[in-house]
Amino acid sequence: MMDLRCKMLDDIRAIEFMAVELNLFLDINPHDHRALNEYNDYTRQLHELKYQFEQQFGPLTNFGYSYSLHHWRWIDRPWPWESC
């Protein structure tokens, strides 16, 4: 059984994979408009998914890159080595 947290992280990872691959492609084909549109599309999806995740499960990054609303959730478990 996979809980919602793992499922959401998996979705984020899938989009991140696409973003990295398109990034590498665009590095050598910077004028490819189709790839650029796809890259921006996946980037938009990634921002949305990370926003949804962080609303529910707390910040993915610290040092001012993510908000921690209501209380300080950065130190909440699970840490990456404790789950997926």
Binding site: R13, E16, P59, L60, T61, W74, W79, P80, C84
Partner: protein, 40 residues
């Protein structure tokens, strides 16, 4: 330059521990011809 993300890039579930393979992987990271040696 680097930021920490509180998630794994690619979670790995080790179903069948393999000490020989583990030794190869560790050597690639930290051995004389591995990533660590190459970066110094």
């Amino acid at each position: 330059m680097w930021i920490y993300e509180k998630k794994l890039q690619y979670p790995v579930r080790i179903k069948k521990p393999d000490a020989r393979m583990a030794k190869c992987v560790i050597t690639q990271y930290g051995g004389p011809d591995g990533e660590l040696a190459a970066s110094l």
